[in-house]
């Protein structure tokens, strides 16, 4: 009798030890993963990036903890609870446990509350999205008064099948987006045909551009460099070509660029989809149907397709 209790106690003790050890190990690995997760993301080049990455790291840690917790338990079971070859007997007939059920309803609920509170805060912090105004498509794009503060703009971002054009307050047209560093720039997002999406991975920001609506949007770049701007809402045949560069420069360089570009004569801007389509026509127009790409935009600053980008 006594020995049995002692043996049970011993077993309990070693079980507790194993569980504590496993939980601690899991926490350590999860924190490491969270730390590590920063390296899976592109360069942080906007104010938003920092917040998004922290949130992502937080989720990676929680996610790793849950994943390893569940799969670790499964692995333990697979190692220690395997049936011997000809053993067809039943396992321990546990039907359920109310206390456990309550715990594993409440704990995820708390986690979910924590994550959503955190990310709601980040949402309010960023507030990139301004107003979205419907207008009579085909008529002049209305001017929208942006109520939120910004330092520069508004820059018109014009998207089409399949090229980008940026129009600055002083009337410059450009195929590349130049932005002053550490200034909150404001945009009017406009599309001339279908839905596109303004997406700069290094900024961690994305906003769809809806035909028939003009959407205002603000962001603050925080790092000098060349970053890819990608269309992220499927927009037809040459969707994958609908990319250009964002160039973030110090304010004086930016101002100089503005001043010099005004003087340049408008010429044909970047339009890789147009080139591909010409090639297709030359090769006998094979392939499935597509609408014709929009003609080359007339821009003061052509930019370069070959410019190496930082991310």
């Amino acid at each position: 009798m006594n020995t049995k209790i002692r043996r049970l106690k011993k077993k309990n003790f070693s079980n507790t030890f194993i569980i504590i050890f496993a939980v601690v190990l899991n926490i350590v690995v999860s924190l490491l993963m969270g730390h590590w997760s920063y390296s899976w993301l592109p360069i942080q080049a906007s104010e938003a990036a920092h917040y998004v990455d922290n949130l992502f790291a937080f989720e990676t840690s929680i996610g790793t903890f849950i994943f390893l917790g569940c799969t670790g338990t499964m692995a333990w079971i697979l190692v220690f609870n395997r049936a011997p070859k000809y053993d067809e007997s039943n396992g321990e007939p546990l039907e359920g446990n109310l206390k456990l059920e309550i715990i594993w309803t409440i704990v995820p609920l708390i986690l979910v509350l924590a994550i959503s509170t955190y990310s709601t805060r980040v949402n309010y912090k960023l507030e990139n999205l301004g107003s979205k105004i419907k207008y009579d498509f085909g008529a002049e794009v209305p001017f929208v008064e942006e109520k939120k503060v910004f330092d520069y703009g508004p820059i018109d971002v014009i998207s089409r099948q399949w090229n980008w054009e940026f129009v600055y307050p002083n009337g410059i047209h450009s195929s590349e987006l130049h932005l002053p560093i550490n200034k909150r720039s404001n945009f009017r997002l406009i599309t001339e045909d279908v839905i596109h999406s303004f997406y700069v991975p290094a900024f961690r920001l994305k906003q769809d551009i809806i035909p028939g609506s003009v959407i205002t949007y603000s962001l603050t770049p925080t790092k000098e460099g060349v970053f890819r701007l990608r269309d992220a809402m499927f927009s037809g045949a040459y969707f994958s070509q609908n990319q250009t560069n964002v160039i973030v420069e110090p304010e004086d360089v930016f101002n100089k660029w503005i001043k010099e570009t005004v003087k340049k004569e408008p010429q044909n801007g970047l339009n890789p989809a147009g080139r591909l389509y010409e090639k297709r026509l030359k090769n006998g127009n094979r392939g499935w149907a597509t609408v014709k790409p929009a003609p080359d935009p007339k821009v003061n600053e052509v930019g370069s397709e070959a410019r190496p980008h930082d991310s």
Partner: protein, 563 residues
């Protein structure tokens, strides 16, 4: 006395299809027997898995190098659109309808479905709309190429201006598929509500039945919204109306709401029956009762209800106002709670069991492993700031293939193996099954794990070409996809040869508890016929000494008698 060992001598007898002509021709006819229809569905669906998988491998072939060199971009767009459409509407929905048809009547002790003729009609619509969809490859201009969402305005651009075009056939096919699913749903729900065996109250139904009920209710509530949207899209495309066309004052975002109001719940329509499969199989192969039966059962309805109010998480970056984004983020994440109840219950079911790693169990374990992963990336997507970065990138593609292939297809394979002996009357080859599992697990992981990083780094989905910095992840993924292609060989081999010349199966080869296991393998035309058992307990009482049905011995012996 729960389980009685069968007498092996009885099993040696030949076991033709009782009470039905044992000939293969009935699988090609308008047969109203749910078991025939189930097999018709499953085989048709597997054929389309092969086609969809082939398209998937063509996609991966294009993406193994950065430039768009294998196909013209227009062709690539058509390929992935058709891949997504075929996989969802020609593979996944039909195969789940097939399993539901096979399993629901025997599991609840009904002789057949409530409306057998409608049931056959629902099935025969599948080849009809499949052919319409496949024909669209051959119309001028090619098939639909605007993604499986078919968002206007691209979907109504109609570059050639012809009335007959791929997009139009796509809409017709999807609408017919919707009609087929609605007929099926009415049938399943009626059958489950009205035709259960005596004694089988709701809390004695197998979990699979619970999940089917939850999933089919979602079909009934959600599908009509998509149908409505599809009708309006069809009018815009063909008759020049302006529901979604901005030039006439329409709103393209409205379509997105119609689409996701259904298509989000649709993902739970797909996954719920697989949850049911997990809940059926884990107890059998760990020889333990399902942990917390009632919680697992009710959690299905928690998922159903919540899933109706989360659709905007697919539209966080379309200009949705802040309050809506926060609200839908929260509801979306809440789904993790009932889902967690299920996941933890399965793990607790395994705990302390007598685990047997046969092929169905391996697929279940692999599926659960992948599901936890895919669910967690889902929760990451639900948080607005993260979704704004990774939305519409390969992170999303990886998330949903982790669930849709690495979980759901795994669960379906598990179900096919588990119930194969029951409905064909033949045993399958365990060795080939294990090879199939190993190749599938390795291929699936290699295919989808690396793509998460491509997405995090900002690689958009639906691109025919991409910047070279994403090449490494894509090469790994493509290799994984080709391994998946190879993995289908042992599977096909196993299924075909086992069915043709496998060992005859005993009524209850896995010693499982459940009404279907009290029937002969394969079950006779009307299952229990005149002697429907009276159910006493829920079907998971392994080792509990609770009898499952009245006169269990009678049914066990009856199932062993040769016909």
């Amino acid at each position: 006395m729960t389980i009685v060992n069968y007498d092996p001598r009885l099993v040696k007898t030949k076991n033709p299809y009782p009470k039905g002509p044992n000939d293969w021709k009935r699988f090609f006819s308008f047969n109203t027997d749910a078991k025939v229809i189930g097999i018709q569905y499953i085989v048709t669906a597997l054929f389309f898995l092969l086609i969809g998988g082939l398209l998937g491998m063509l996609i991966r072939g294009e993406l193994i190098t950065p430039p768009s060199d294998l196909f013209d971009p227009t062709v690539y767009n058509g390929l992935y659109t058709m891949h997504g459409t075929i996989m969802l509407f020609l593979f996944l929905f039909p195969i789940l309808s097939g399993l539901t048809n096979l399993l629901v009547p025997p599991m609840i002790g009904a002789p057949d479905m409530a409306f057998p003729k409608l049931n056959a009609l629902a099935f025969w619509l599948v080849p009809v709309f499949s052919i319409i969809l496949l024909l669209s490859f051959f119309v001028p201009g090619g098939p639909a190429s605007s993604g499986w969402w078919s968002y206007p305005p691209i979907s109504i651009q109609n570059p050639l201006g012809k009335v007959l075009n791929g997009e139009m056939l796509w809409i017709i096919a999807i609408s017919l598929s919707g009609i087929s699913s609605i007929i099926g749903a009415v049938n399943f729900v009626t059958t489950i509500i009205r035709m259960r065996a005596p004694g089988m109250g709701f809390f004695k139904m197998p979990i699979f039945i619970w999940t089917v009920l939850a999933a089919q209710l979602l079909q009934l509530l959600g599908l009509p919204a998509l149908t409505g949207g599809a009708i309006m899209l069809f009018f815009d495309l063909t008759f020049g109306t302006s529901f979604f066309r901005v030039e006439g004052g329409g709103d393209p975002v409205l379509f997105q709401h119609f689409f996701w109001f259904y298509s989000h719940p649709a993902v739970y329509v797909m996954v719920l029956p697989v949850f049911g499969i997990f809940s059926e199989l884990f107890p059998v192969y760990s020889r333990k009762p399902l942990f917390g039966y009632k919680f697992v059962a009710v959690a299905s309805f928690g998922i159903t209800i919540l899933s109706l109010v989360v659709w905007v998480h697919h539209m966080f970056y379309t200009g949705t106002p802040m309050w809506m984004r926060n609200l839908f983020m929260f509801t979306t994440m809440l789904i993790a709670v009932p889902t967690g109840v299920k996941v933890f219950a399965w793990i607790a079911t395994l705990w302390g069991g007598n685990i047997r790693l046969s092929t169905p169990m391996l697929f279940c374990l692999g599926g659960l492993f992948n599901f936890i992963f895919g669910g967690i990336t889902g929760v990451m997507l639900a948080t607005v700031p993260v979704d704004i970065h990774v939305g519409n990138t390969y992170f999303v593609v990886a998330h949903f293939h982790y669930i849709i292939f690495n979980t759901i297809a795994f669960g379906i394979f598990a179900a096919i193996y588990h119930w194969f002996p029951k409905f064909t009357g033949k045993m399958f080859y365990e060795g080939l099954g294990k090879v199939h599992f190993a190749l599938t697990f390795i291929g699936a992981t290699l295919n989808w794990l690396p793509l998460h990083w491509a997405g995090l780094l900002g690689m958009p989905r639906r691109v025919a070409s991409y910047d070279p910095e994403f090449a490494i992840w894509n090469v790994l993924a493509s290799v994984g996809a080709f391994i998946l292609g190879v993995a289908s060989i042992p599977f096909i081999l196993n299924m075909v040869s086992s069915w043709v010349r496998g060992k005859p199966a005993p009524p209850n080869p896995w010693k499982a508890i459940g009404l279907e296991w009290l029937l002969p393998s394969p079950p006779p035309h009307e299952n229990f016929e005149e002697d429907i058992p009276t159910v006493l307990n829920e079907p998971y009482c392994y080792g509990l000494n609770k009898p499952f049905v009245e006169d269990e011995q009678f049914y066990i012996e009856k199932s062993l008698i040769k016909h």
